[in-house]
Amino acid sequence: MRNLFNFIIRNSHWLLAILLIVFSFYLVFAHNPYQRSVYLTSANSVTGWFYTMSSNVTSFIHLRKNNQMLLEQNAVLENELFSLKSYINDIAVTDSSDVDAFVRDSTEQTQFNFIPAEVVNLSFSGVNNFITINKGSKDGLKPDMGVISQRGVVGVIANVSTNFSVVIPIINPMFRLSARLKNSVNYGSISWNGERVSTAQLGELPKHEIYQAGDTVMTSFSRIFPKNTIIGFVSSMGKTSDDNFNTFNVELATDFNSLQDVLVINDQFYEEQKLLENSLER
């Protein structure tokens, strides 16, 4: 113990020197921004190197898990590719003019072009329903164009922006469309009473018009839709406010709850017909 004290006393000037040197270096780092910056950056590069090494190790450990994840993702993508391929095959077989919604009529079909679009927003929350689709004036869409799905009538374009369009569907109180039963020449008018999304009303039909459940309801004279486009199927007798007319409930062909792809009808002769009819009115 005494030797230790002797050692400390004999070498105490070294302790003093070390103390003063440490103090000097403290001054260097505390008051010289350059040295501090060099010290800090070298410290950063050391910690950075350390972090790189540790991340290398951990990524190696996680290789198996990542591999599994990639395999699962690959399987999902494979499925998607397969379904898309079959979908393409389906489309290649059925021409766009062969849409199921029509009863074919070879003389009128060249009048119409179909622009495919996707539904980006559905608003069926209240009475004022509308649908937004991802095609706009850029793709040649204009207001008053008809919109159909693979099964039947969807609605009419109300507003068009550059890339989007708003469609007023059948299930909107503002919507009116003349329609008739398949095996009859009398026409009435389709409207929606705001009760159920799947059902519209075919009204203003003559009292003597009778129905059978499942009768097809189709468009009649319309500037917007081709003749004989399917709207839906009669399900029951509806309430009527006027004794002179019958009203039928119509189960709509289009399922608005699962609507995804629609076709916009571009009528080549729309302007011509409109001009002609307007000239008569003047």
Partner: protein, 171 residues
């Protein structure tokens, strides 16, 4: 004894003033700056108390740092030199030298020149590496160390020769 300390304090102050006011404004070719204040450490008697040597070394470095606005750099270098002064003297001088021995040209030119070269080179190496604090641009740092060392060594030897002659003239 009192006059000896007085003389040392005087040398201490003069060396600091000389270094701060004159020598640090010299920058030959943009690389070499003479460092003279180490002369104080060289000329202390061999047997001087180590605490005195270390504290005075630290103080001279610290005061120069305060004047040059480089806190700690000169202080660190001079403190290291002051602490290792005794072992370095033992390298170049016989162990049998008495305590009041003062290294100088008049007390053996050969060992003093070697002692000076070693001390100045080590000191300036420490100083410049503390200053640059990185091995980046190493060649530039080494050139600065060597050129500054040559200038400083020449200046110290010249100063020692001058004082020696003056003393010889007095005697």
């Amino acid at each position: 004894m009192k006059t000896l300390y007085f003389k040392e304090v005087l040398v201490f102050i003069l060396l600091i003033l000389l270094q701060v006011l004159l020598l640090n404004r010299i920058n030959i070719f943009g690389i070499a700056t003479p460092v003279l204040y180490l002369y104080f450490l060289l000329k202390l008697p061999v047997g001087r108390n180590q605490f005195f040597v270390i504290i005075s070394g630290f103080l001279i470095g610290l005061i120069i740092d305060i004047f040059l606005n480089t806190p700690g750099m000169n202080a660190a270098a001079t403190t290291i030199m002051a602490a290792s002064r005794k072992p370095i003297i033992n390298l170049f001088y016989d162990k049998e030298i008495y305590d009041e021995f003062v290294p100088g040209i008049n007390t053996g030119a050969g060992p003093f020149v070697r002692f000076t070269i070693f001390m100045v080179l080590t000191h300036l190496t420490l100083l410049f590496f503390i200053e640059s604090f990185t091995l980046f641009n190493l060649l530039n740092t080494v050139i600065r160390i060597i050129s500054s060392s040559i200038i400083s060594i020449l200046l110290i030897l010249a100063l020692d020769g001058l004082t020696f002659r003056k003393k010889a003239g007095e005697q």
